[in-house]
């Protein structure tokens, strides 16, 4: 299979994630965009790792990325839930007070 297509798919996923992060104001959608960007990084790592069958560094790095993504999603969503309880909104533009 063509190697370039994989890299282009990764670049496409990253740019879609960037667009979602930049344009949406709902905190959950921003987290969805971040997940897309992390997946794009994983695709690149595994694509390059498939030419390196002995060391498997790319696959191991992508396993760590998946773990960090899980931790990030858990902490991020709990913060969003807490912020919603306090401000009664998940709109990032309306959350503009520092003092709680």
């Amino acid at each position: 299979m063509p190697f370039d297509y994989l890299l282009i798919l990764g670049a496409f996923l990253f740019c879609v994630g960037l667009f979602v992060v930049v344009t949406r104001k709902n905190a959950i959608l921003v987290l969805i965009g971040i997940e897309l960007m992390l997946n794009a990084a994983n695709i690149n790592l595994i694509a390059f790792s498939s030419f390196d069958p002995n060391a498997l560094q790319g696959q191991i790095f992508s396993l760590f990325i998946i773990t960090v993504a899980a931790a990030e999603a858990a902490v991020g969503l709990s913060i969003v839930v807490k912020v919603y309880k306090h401000f009664q909104t998940a709109d990032l533009d309306k959350i503009n007070e520092l003092k709680g």
């Binding site: 344009t23 695709i43 069958p53 498997l56 999603a73």
Partner: protein, 175 residues
């Protein structure tokens, strides 16, 4: 065109189209469901690249874990009174310029780099099953990072529970 290639293109198309749908839809819940398709498409691509373990982990952690968390987050941060949970996109033009510009740069860079012609790319190398080798590498060369990432995950989950959970009245004095 071989069957392998056709299945690969199908998974790539699923990934790209569902990502595009996330970009275009206004409904947060639909975006979360489209994210399932994206993750499953990516998992299929991992299988083609000889990373079966990562593919299974992707399905378990992302589809079984993070997606459920996201749907719970949507449920807890919206008043579900019969209306749809929508969140329109703002500053679409600027966002599109930034994202499309970055994609154009990356696209041109990938084509110009011409990875297929590099000598360390072995076109004949078929990615075979490598789970035993993966496990050995993980538990020998990378065992320290493996343990650290486990501790990080534990800390993050305890922190998430501490942040989101309710503090009981009698515990307030101890905090």
């Amino acid at each position: 065109m071989e069957l392998n290639d056709i299945i690969f293109y199908v998974f790539g198309a699923i990934t790209a189209l569902s990502a595009l749908y996330i970009m275009l839809t206004k409904n947060i819940l639909y975006a979360a469901f489209a994210l399932i398709l994206t993750f499953i498409g990516v998992a299929g691509i991992y299988v083609f690249l000889g990373a079966e373990f990562i593919a299974v982990t992707q399905v378990l952690v992302y589809v079984g874990g993070i997606l459920i968390l996201l749907v719970f987050g949507i449920m807890l941060t919206n008043r579900l009174s019969g209306k749809k949970v929508v969140s329109p996109a703002y500053n679409k033009l600027m966002g599109l310029i930034v994202a499309a510009g970055l994609f154009a740069i990356l696209f041109k860079g990938i084509l110009q780099a011409n990875f297929s012609a590099m000598n360390w790319i072995d076109k004949g190398a078929s990615a075979d099953s490598s789970i035993p080798k993966f496990g050995l590498t993980l538990m020998t060369d990378y065992v320290l990072v493996f343990e650290i990432i486990g501790v990080l995950l534990l800390l993050a989950l305890i922190g998430a529970i501490r942040i989101a959970g309710n503090v009981r009245k009698e515990d307030k004095s101890a905090v």
